[in-house]
């Protein structure tokens, strides 16, 4: 890093001005937050009214026209009350992946790369991890409407498992077993298609029956008496699936795991090709 000597004094002055400005900005920000009551010291003794509304309605059997039939408030808000936000979020995710793929479109076919990975200890340990982490990921995704977790988190865990395998076992390990960029992208698009078909399932059903419905609708409403239901009777066992939440979690798991795996593996390929050494 070479810099001209006469720039140093100006650089120090400029840095101090930026430091003062940054601290002023953040002090102003904190003052605004304190004066509007967004942050309180010590914190308020109860929840805010909006949070109380969600916490009281998402699993309230007495108010079934407002509920989401899921005990997990975060998943219920994410996939039902604010479902369209999540659909847009996944849209941004895939647009970014498309942009990344466009940047890396000149990469050669990676199955030719001869890379045996790391030593025997790391390979053995990561084989055990590769066996257990996907199981944990699927479990997190399938219990998204019952316990903390969901499709986003499960997909991220799955992508991390694949990245571990990619680093430790070598690149050929996955590519020789039929994984490819096109298949991963196809899986991601499949997840997106499932999400959009769940979002449009109730409106299409309402169209045929002449009912008023909403996009991303989960449970029935008094003015829109159609929904996914919340429990399935399997030989006398009532299985709680919380309407569209279970299906959306599965679809998000497919989309997130394949999309993140794609970008992680591409990032590692890039290092390998760019430097020509062991990245």
């Amino acid at each position: 890093m070479s810099s001209k000597p006469n720039e140093d004094r100006w650089g120090i002055i400029r840095d101090s001005i930026i430091a003062v400005l940054a601290s002023l900005l953040i002090v102003l920000f904190a003052a605004v937050l304190l004066s509007t009551g967004t942050i309180a010291i010590p914190p308020q003794s109860t929840n805010r009214p909006l949070a109380n509304y969600y916490l009281r309605t998402v699993f309230n059997h007495d108010l079934q026209w407002l509920w989401s039939s899921s005990p997990e408030t975060v998943s219920a808000i994410l996939l039902d009350h604010r479902g369209i936000d999540t659909v847009y979020g996944v849209g941004i995710f895939f647009i970014t992946i498309m942009a990344t793929l466009m940047l890396t479109s000149k990469l050669e076919n990676s199955s030719r790369v001869k890379d045996m990975g790391m030593d025997i200890i790391t390979r053995s340990v990561s084989k055990i991890i590769l066996l257990t982490l996907p199981v944990i990921a699927v479990s997190i995704a399938l219990h998204g409407h019952l316990a903390p977790g969901g499709g986003f988190q499960g997909g991220t865990v799955f992508a991390l498992a694949v990245s571990t395998a990619f680093i430790a076992l070598g690149q050929g390990f996955l590519w020789s077993r039929g994984w490819s960029r096109h298949r991963l992208l196809g899986l991601g698009v499949l997840g997106l298609v499932i999400i959009f078909s769940i979002a449009l399932a109730i409106p299409v059903a309402g169209l045929f029956r002449g009912l008023k419905t909403y996009i991303m609708q989960n449970q029935w409403k008094p003015w829109s008496p159609i929904g996914f239901g919340y429990a399935y009777n399997l030989y006398g066992l009532e299985i709680l699936y919380s309407g569209s939440l279970l299906f959306l979690n599965i679809a998000l798991f497919i989309a997130m795991s394949s999309g993140l795996t794609l970008v992680f593996t591409l990032l590692m390929l890039r290092e390998e090709h760019g430097k020509g050494g062991h990245g």
């Binding site: 914190p43 949070a51 699993f59 936000d85 970014t96 990032l267």
Partner: protein, 138 residues
């Protein structure tokens, strides 16, 4: 009293880290260091959002307890009122979750952009990149 000091300390720490990361992003010439600062700023803002959701009652996660696939007893307004008093604010957790997903992908994309810049100009230093652009390099 100790509670007040502790909470002031937590907020002061978070706010100081935010100020430091803004300073670092503005002054460090290396793009990778700028990205590190951006990710630190992002994590700290997420942490601050989660802290804002905390209240001083009895704290539990916003998940109604005791529900499994097969056991889901009736829960009415009385039970849910007690639950809403104990649980933390779920809305900020939802915001943070969507922000983490989008933020991580945007960070990955910026990482790719940094790689492209390095391939084109041979450096990640903003001052050198500016010099080489003036010279018509790349």
């Amino acid at each position: 009293m100790i509670n007040d000091i502790l909470w002031s300390y937590i907020y002061a720490l978070v706010i100081t880290i935010i100020a430091l990361t803004i300073y670092g992003m503005a002054t460090r010439p290396n793009i990778v260091k700028k990205l590190i600062m951006l990710s630190m700023l992002f994590s700290t803002v997420c942490l601050m959002a989660v802290i804002i959701g905390v209240h001083s009652g009895s704290i539990k996660p916003p998940v109604y307890p005791g529900i499994t696939f097969t056991e889901h007893p009736w829960a009415g307004t009385a039970e849910l009122d007690i639950f809403s008093y104990e649980a933390v604010d779920p809305i900020l957790q939802v915001l943070v979750m969507v922000a983490i997903i989008i933020g991580s992908v945007v960070l990955l994309f910026l990482g790719y952009v940094a790689i492209m810049v390095y391939r084109r100009y041979g450096t990640l230093d903003m001052r050198l990149i500016e010099l080489r652009r003036r010279e018509g390099y790349g």
